[in-house]
């Protein structure tokens, strides 16, 4: 044995070996086998997921891209359209000029909702007599669509609808309405009726988000946002306060305006930001805006998103989107309005009104 070997053996002997029983070795073997199985499983899972991802990517790339919906040009603000008892639909300009838009004679006991299509070419409205009046059951009653260009006034869903909270899809191809506490969707000609599954609440009003993916609901004075496909993946209950009515998405989808008592609020769709924008009593001294007043469609954004209009009894109030500059429009002595909708018009026809 060389001197180096002796030195190295002496050095090695300074390291006291641990107790290494055979059982530890066998346990280690079991542990390694288990780790290998887990690693193999994880690898298999990763390979499977990668295969699914690659497969779906190939599938997507082999399919033609879905046609984008034709963009709707930003619209300018036309006149307000107001409705209620016995008056049909009337246009109301911001300087107080009124013209009759739909005259339906003895049929129009009550117009309970109306909404303009996004391009302003058609207006959907609901004609009813749900209070047991003499015209109940009139074949004219139901949800109708008036085409301004052709003058065609067409019944798309027959029946009596009390505040159906009409709205259009962003591309103008479908109409949503609320009936018996549920949201229904039809094609603009009344075909393909479907019902959106909603949480176990009775829906009082619903407004379709501008991108078509969600609805904001009013139910029992509370607001919530749900998926428009009824998947109920997420439901955001908005901290809107009591007696929330008439929720309406802003045209850019960033805010929802609504009324609670005499206060008009805006809230972000995720509920994180809420702003009190105006107290209607500062504009209308005798505003009938208590908790027991109000309908599902008494608030509307201007098509360009710069203004908000609110119907309060006989009066209409128009304000900037932040609540500033609120003013009442001249009242009509013999009318009481249920609600309003703001007509979009092509921007070349008329410049946006200033309040």
């Amino acid at each position: 044995m060389s001197e180096h070997t002796k030195l190295f053996e002496r050095a090695a002997a300074r390291f006291e070996p641990p107790d290494l029983p055979m059982e530890d070795l066998l346990e280690r073997q079991d542990r390694k086998r288990r780790d290998r199985r887990i690693a193999a499983g994880a690898l298999g899972l990763a390979v499977g997921l990668a295969a699914i991802f690659v497969g779906s990517s190939l599938l997507r790339s082999s399919q033609p891209a879905p046609a984008e919906p034709a963009p709707i040009a930003p619209m300018a603000n036309g006149p307000l359209t107001v409705y209620g008892f016995t008056g049909g639909l009337r246009s109301l300009t911001l300087d107080g000029q009124r013209t009759r838009l739909v005259r339906c004679g003895e049929h129009c006991t009550e117009t309970s909702s109306a909404a303009w299509s996004p391009d302003g070419s058609r207006v959907a409205f609901a004609v009813a007599c749900s209070g047991g009046c003499g015209s109940a059951g009139d074949p004219y009653h139901g949800i109708r669509v008036l085409d301004l260009a052709t003058g065609e006034d067409r019944l798309v869903v027959g029946g009596e609808f009390f505040e159906p909270s009409l709205d259009w899809s962003a591309d103008g191809s479908r109409i949503s309405y609320v009936h018996d506490g549920h949201i229904h969707i039809i094609d603009a000609d009344g075909s393909n009726p479907t019902q959106v599954s909603t949480p176990r609440v009775a829906v009082d009003a619903a407004d379709w988000s501008p991108d078509g993916t969600r609805f904001v609901l009013a139910s029992g004075g509370a607001l919530s946002v749900i998926e428009a496909d009824g998947s109920d993946r997420t439901r955001v209950v908005l901290p809107a306060g009591p007696h929330a009515l008439s929720p309406q998405w802003s045209p850019d989808g960033a805010q929802i305006a609504y009324r609670s008592g005499c206060i008009v609020w805006t809230i972000s769709p995720n509920g994180e930001q809420r702003s009190r924008i105006v107290d209607l009593r500062t504009v209308l001294l005798r505003a009938a805006c208590g908790a027991n007043y109000g309908s599902s469609d008494e608030l509307a954004w201007s098509p360009d998103g710069r203004f908000i209009a609110v119907i309060v009894g006989r009066d209409a109030v128009v304000m900037n989107a932040d609540g500033k500059g609120a003013r009442a429009l001249p009242a009509h002595p013999r009318s009481s309005w249920f609600g309003l909708t703001w007509q979009p018009i092509p921007p070349a026809i008329q410049p946006p009104p200033e309040t």
């Binding site: 180096h4 030195l7 190295f8 002496r10 050095a11 070996p17 290494l20 280690r28 073997q29």
Partner: protein
């Protein structure tokens, strides 16, 4: 029938049981004889008792899983040390070790400083790289030729000799005497 089948699967033929037992006994003898020596050699190479213990267990486990063949070799311990050195060189193991050190699963060996003070050989190995230490330990402690050590470490025999000569010069300087 089901019971018959279960019994048949659960029990092994008597001769197979005897062979398996003999095989295990053989390995246990080998394990008891070599474990302290391998552990100590790996302590000199790694300068960390915890790492050396892990390497020792891994090397023995690898041998155990192949004991049918390794047990029949003329020099099973040569296979054991080669296995240990392969594991030591494994980039995969070194990556795992680095990760373990990062997250604190592999402890530093505080005792190594004390042993450094006590032993000039251990101290002389400190400035060498881990591979240089492995070459010197294989030659000077375990008695392998430079060719055998080179094969175990995946380097040329001449490189092993160079490492060993440098280590000897350093050791000589530290101990103040002739060490050839």
């Amino acid at each position: 029938m089901a019971n018959d089948r279960t019994l048949h699967l659960a029990s092994k033929p008597p001769e197979a049981e005897t062979l398996a037992e003999e095989r295990l006994l053989d390995f246990e003898v080998f394990f008891d004889r070599e474990k302290a020596r391998l552990f100590r050699a790996l302590c000199l190479v790694t300068r960390n008792r915890f790492e050396a213990e892990e390497l020792t267990q891994d090397a023995f486990l690898s041998v155990y899983e192949r004991w049918d063949r390794v047990g029949a070799m003329d020099d099973p311990s040569g296979y054991l040390y080669r296995t240990a050195m392969n594991a030591f060189r494994s980039w995969r193991r070194r990556s795992a070790l680095a990760a373990k050190r990062t997250i604190g699963l592999m402890r530093a060996d505080d005792a190594i400083a004390m042993i450094d003070e006590q032993d000039a050989v251990v101290r002389s190995l400190q400035p060498l790289s881990a591979r240089q230490r492995a070459a010197v330990v294989l030659i000077d402690l375990l008695g392998y030729s430079s060719e055998e050590a080179g094969r175990m470490l995946g380097i040329r025999a001449s490189t092993v000799r160079t490492y060993a000569e440098r280590a000897h010069r350093d050791l000589k300087a530290r101990m103040g005497g002739p060490h050839e």
